[in-house]
Amino acid sequence: MTRMKLLASLLFAAGLALPALPAAAADITLLNVSYDPTRELYRDINAAFAAEWKARTGDNVLIRQSHGGSGKQARAVIDGLEADVVTLALAADIDAIATHSKKLPQDWQKRLSNNASPFTSTIVFLVRKGNPKAIKDWDDLAKPGVAVITPNPKTSGGARWNYLAAWAYANEKFGGDEARIRAFVQSIYKNAPVLDTGARGSTITFAQRGLGDVLIAWENEAFLASLEFGKDKFDIVTPSLSILAEPPVSLVDANADARKTRPVAEAYLAFLWSDKAQALGAKHYYRPAKPAAAAKEDLARLPALRQVAIDQAFGGWKAAQTKHFGDGGVFDQIYAPAR
């Protein structure tokens, strides 16, 4: 065994042993407040970062994770949860932290490259094996007789991406004719028998309860569901056009300064763009910002499709949030009873 290899395996062992150490023994702890489906991803990334930080500085770093619905997590940070970094499902939730708690500057998204999103994802369809309803694209979701499972955009971050993806498709199809876009999106939601409060809830409704013909889901969630419940049960259908879903990350400045963890927290966020973390992202079915770093076979699983960015199609999250998901916004209107 060469010395390098020996060193690497020692570091690896240190990384494995770290989470088992009691908190008092670790020199630094970081709290990463994240959204629901990133559990498996950050478990891997945290171990890799701890090993690298140990090699670079000799300090032990223990990263604690908190997972939950994105909006709920944002509220917890606003109400005083001492997160050093937040890694949430959408920029609007981190905007909310900046606006309501002033713990980070308003221009947080400009501090890191790629709109502060180390990985992106997109919205795809999960259908029953063999695709009995022949669902190919968004048009098929608006047809009568197709049951669509999607969570409630008012309570779920993922659901907002679903809604915006459908809207972006209709926007192209109808050339921006707002009335027809609305009618199209409305007919998709008329096909939804249930609106679960979170993305995981919808996955369970579709996969376990057997409800609906198609689940609109995060790409990585769709892959996880088909792994979890059996590859022979579902097919993944990629629509012709979808949204570029950017789950962003940020330092929570006030918390990191109060806890004197800024250097390590900043290094942790920078590490998300390292080759190692990028490869791990692709392994967990995210689309890495630097595809060159990822394994070929991981990338091959993610088909190419046209993706619309929220900044171009909707003028950014702030505008989209107010217009579509605010109180009395477009989403509320499509459910209002016809008079």
Partner: protein, 278 residues
């Protein structure tokens, strides 16, 4: 003699106990309610009235209160039968059944909701049997009713049970010897004695059902204007960081619940006067 005006009851420590009660109630009950009302008041009366008249909020309040009322009424009838059987008859497994009544108390509500949704979904054991009959339970208002009946049952059984135990079978025998038939005994002798307890159980089950979130949310379907409960709208407001709006809906629910419980208490007072003290 000199102690007579200082000591109103036989038990000592009246002042201490009263002081303790007031402090305890203030801390545990009144303080949170005051915070709720205070937060709401930032909206102003006009804002609250405006909110209360929104059709979607009205629809969800109707859903929450209507279904909670129906479920509590259902429990009042069938919970009474369960309590009667558990007290008056001895059979193998009675103690086991008696303990099982408390399960809805003990089970985390989310667990109950997930279990019920799994059972009544079209792929579930019960849902699968009802589906061919054209009856959908999970993800409809009916599903909310099922969850609330489940949650409310022990409230009725546990309030009615001790009263039935106090009710001596001799009274029924006396009624029979005086020429009452079974229907008359039930209507004129037993039910009046049980009525106050039944109303209390009904009120408790109803109050619990109105605010129930955990078990309902998994089986309701949450479709606006159809199966959306008022507590979900509170959560939605919180997601929008609209704390005032959330507390305003909560205050509306509080006022409505208070009015209904007050009415039930009046009915109860009336039934006590009418049928005697229990």
């Amino acid at each position: 003699m000199t102690f007579a005006f200082r000591q109103k009851t036989a038990l000592p420590g009246f002042h201490l106990a009263l002081g303790y009660t007031l402090v305890y109630l203030s801390l545990i009950v009144l303080l949170p309610l005051a915070a709720l009302v205070l937060r709401t008041s930032s909206l102003g009366l006009a804002g609250i009235v405006d909110l209360a008249l929104q059709p979607r909020i009205l629809a969800s309040l109707r859903t929450s209160f209507g279904i909670a009322f129906a479920a509590a009424a259902f429990n009042a009838v069938f919970g009474l039968i369960v309590a009667w059987v558990l007290v008056r008859y001895d059979f193998p497994g009675r103690r086991f059944l008696d303990a099982a009544v408390d399960l809805p108390f003990a089970l985390p509500t989310a667990v109950a909701g997930i279990a019920l949704a799994a059972l009544y979904a079209p792929t579930g054991w019960v849902g699968g049997l009802l589906e061919p009959l054209g009856l959908k339970v999970a993800y409809t208002p009916l599903g909310i009713g099922v969850a609330l009946v489940f949650i409310g049952l022990p409230f009725v059984v546990r309030t009615v049970e001790p009263v039935i135990r106090e009710l001596e079978p001799e009274i029924e025998e006396a009624a029979a010897t005086l020429g009452a038939n079974r229907g008359q005994t039930l209507r004129r002798v037993i039910l009046p004695a049980l009525l106050p307890a039944i109303i209390t159980g009904f009120a408790l089950a109803f109050a619990r059902g109105v605010g129930e979130y955990g078990s309902v949310i998994f089986i309701a379907g949450n479709i606006p204007y159809v199966s959306e409960i008022a507590p979900l709208l509170i959560i939605v407001r919180l997601e929008e960081f609209d704390y005032a709006g959330a507390t305003a809906i909560a205050t509306l629910m509080l006022v409505a619940a208070f009015a209904i419980l007050l009415f039930i208490n009046l009915v109860q007072a009336w039934s006590r006067r009418r049928f005697g003290y229990v």
